[in-house]
């Protein structure tokens, strides 16, 4: 039933490494910086959450890794190294082979991702047939995959149409589809935002089990800290195109170090109103149209001083895995 994929590649090399990644969008009078100087790695079998509010660039990164953005309006700098290969530089045909086989993606709204006129089983099978299996073998794999994602009555459900399934079921079909060729990396863009809480909990459990079973690395794009606390191994917090803090999830939750992370966590409704009002962050996310040195959070940061507007903040280490970029480490901890 389960295909444990054994790879002969060097397992010490990180699965995914983003090196000085910058993504700019062309706009009317120049460029809009969506992502800037991002350095980020993921290892096999890890669940890493890329967290941030709207406009921080997290979805942009996800789509760029898959090279789904391409409409000619982007400028991409730096490297996207997947198992050592720069995805940004390989020819389109090779990228197409990558998708599905090595890198899978599930999106926010499962109804939009499935073709309404084909049976769900056929859609999942389509992907598997690319690997050269016979129709009979492929169909059997589909049924097994449906069982893996815990769709009840798998033998019958493979013949269902998308509109016959609930949102949670459709998302499971998507997961099945994406796992069908056992990719090493699964990118999940807000996978449970459209789902009810109880269904979300089930999907999270499935993702956790699948990670164990298939050793799939999962890059989860989300704004939901609860999700992150539940499943992530590591977390990277993004703001205005930069990663401002990243590290082991336990470390970051226990000791958030970047002022933005600290304020954001305090903005989460974790308590009752009797314990006080929620922390807020003044100001708005800046629109960066020219690359200047300086911290992008400076205009909203309560600790900001002159240097924050003129020099890029250094990357400071809290512990071996936990880093953040700020000029004022000490003051930040007292925030």
């Amino acid at each position: 039933m389960s295909d444990i994929v054994t790879k002969l590649d060097n397992t010490e090399e990180p699965l995914l490494r983003l090196e000085d990644l910058s993504i700019d969008y062309r706009i009317r009078n120049g460029y809009l910086s969506a992502v800037s100087d991002v350095n980020f790695t993921m290892n096999r079998g890890e669940i890493v959450a890329l967290v941030g509010e709207s406009g921080c660039g997290k979805s942009t990164i996800a789509f760029t890794i898959m090279r789904l953005l391409m409409d000619g309006n982007e400028k991409i700098g730096g490297k996207i190294l997947f198992k050592g290969e720069d995805l940004n530089k390989i020819p389109v045909r090779d990228m197409e082979k990558m998708r599905g086989k090595h890198i899978g993606m599930i999106f926010q709204n499962p109804l939009d991702s499935l073709n309404p006129v084909y049976r769900t089983g056929s859609q999942v099978e389509e992907a598997i047939l690319l690997d050269g299996l016979s129709h009979k073998e492929a169909w059997e794999r589909v049924i097994n995959l449906y069982k893996d994602v815990r769709i009840p009555d798998a033998e019958k459900r493979v013949n269902s149409y998308p509109h016959e399934l609930s949102g949670g079921m459709r998302q499971r079909v998507m997961i099945a589809m994406m796992l069908s060729r056992t990719p090493e990396l699964l990118i999940a863009d807000e996978p449970t935002t459209a789902l009810d809480v109880t269904i979300e909990a089930q999907i999270l459990q499935i993702l956790k089990d699948l990670k164990t079973q298939y050793n799939t690395a999962i890059l989860m794009i989300t704004h939901n800290f609860g999700l992150v606390a539940e499943v992530a191994d590591r977390i990277a917090v993004m703001y205005a195109g930069n990663i401002v803090e990243q590290g082991n999830v336990f470390d970051v939750f226990a000791a958030p170090s970047h002022p933005y992370t600290r304020l954001l966590m305090r903005a989460l409704p974790r308590k009752t109103k009797h314990e006080g009002r929620l922390e807020t962050i003044d100001g708005n996310v800046p629109r960066i149209t020219e690359k200047k040195p300086g911290c992008r959070f400076a205009n909203r940061c309560p600790l900001a001083k002159e240097i924050c507007f003129t020099e890029n903040p250094p990357v400071l280490t809290v512990s071996h895995d936990h880093t953040f970029s700020c000029h004022f480490a000490e003051e930040a901890s007292k925030l």
Binding site: T198, H223, A254, R270, T272
Partner: protein, 330 residues
């Protein structure tokens, strides 16, 4: 604990036996084939000055309940009493007068305001409609902007120029201009970023304190619910499962569905993740093929034959806490 200012709770809204059924029709001439029982026999009382959180998943009926309370759709059966008056039976001028005292803010900031009107016109409209002279309306609009902490220059902006947080503030400002007693907020912060949500929640709490408002907040986000509500009402497939004080519901929920819901909501502390959780199995049921007995029986770990045959009533554990489950039938 409910609002400490109130010694003996005064009811703001009393809902009894409320039902809203939508007919299921088929054929060219719409022959009636049954009903979708979106809201089925709800009994609950909201007291003045309380913030009530209404929780439930898709198909629970929470939005329909809100719409019936707001008189956007007529009830099939039952009563909605507001300050002693049955508002579900009012029409015409009387209904219009009552509409002043209950205001609403919906979920999507982008569609809460008429894209063709500037902010000032949108905020003024309810006042003009209820006979407030134009000059006074403009003044009140300016006041309202101050209340929601927005700069007056935005009065001349159009919705497409503003952010989600700003739009929600304006929707709140508009809701306040007629000085309502009750505000119904349907997912007021679900479409907003975390930091913006915090601002709006703070604002809502400040306004509630300042004006002694009564809120009915509908949201699926249990963390927001726990933060802001005095009492929480939990709905499932059109029925009220449990209704009680926030602390009790969060820490020690009585109804099996509430327990499942609380267990499913993601925690905000990774160290708690290894705790074994009683995750609810199955899918949310369908409103079309409703079971005979308790709506939750099919997924409930404690279901008995009685549960599958009979509908449980609302059993009052104490004055402020009711559960609809045979486990609590004394």
């Amino acid at each position: 604990m409910s609002n400490a200012n109130v010694n003996a709770p005064v009811p703001a809204i009393e809902i009894s036996g409320l039902k809203k059924y939508f007919p299921l029709t088929s054929g060219a001439f719409n022959a009636k084939k049954g009903s979708v029982k979106a809201v089925d026999d709800i009994n609950l009382t909201i007291n003045k000055g309380e913030i009530i959180g209404l929780a439930g998943e898709s198909g629970s009926g929470k939005t329909t309940l809100a719409r019936v309370i707001l008189n956007l759709t007529p009830a099939t059966e039952g009563r909605v009493l507001m300050n002693g008056q049955d508002i579900s039976k009012l029409h015409g001028r009387e209904l219009k007068a009552v509409r002043r005292s209950i205001a609403t803010v919906f979920q999507d900031p982008a569609s809460n305001l008429n894209p063709r009107l500037n902010v000032l016109s949108s905020i003024m409209r309810p006042m003009i409609l209820h006979g407030v002279p134009k000059a006074e309306a403009v003044e009140k609009a300016q006041e309202a902007m101050k209340l929601v902490k927005m700069d007056e220059r935005y009065l001349y902006s159009y919705p497409h120029q503003l952010s989600g947080g700003q739009l929600q503030r304006i929707a709140i400002a508009r809701a306040l201009v007629l000085r309502p007693d009750i505000m119904v907020l349907d997912e007021p912060t679900s479409a907003l970023d975390i930091s913006v949500q915090a601002q709006i929640l703070n604002l809502l709490l400040d306004l509630q304190e300042q004006f002694g408002l009564t809120y009915l907040v509908i949201t699926h986000d249990l963390n927001v619910l726990r933060y802001i509500s005095d009492r929480i009402a939990v709905m499932y497939l059109g029925k009220l499962m449990e209704f009680g004080p926030t602390e009790t519901i969060s820490s020690n929920p009585l109804h099996p569905y509430t327990r499942g819901l609380m267990a499913a909501s993601p925690i905000l502390d990774p160290t708690l993740r290894s705790q074994k959780k009683e995750l609810m199995g199955g899918e949310t049921g369908s409103l079309i093929n409703l079971p005979k007995g308790c709506r939750f029986a099919a997924r409930c770990p404690h279901a008995t034959d009685r549960c599958r045959e009979e509908l449980p009533k609302d059993y009052h554990v104490d004055a402020l806490h009711q559960v609809s489950c045979f486990l609590y039938d004394k």
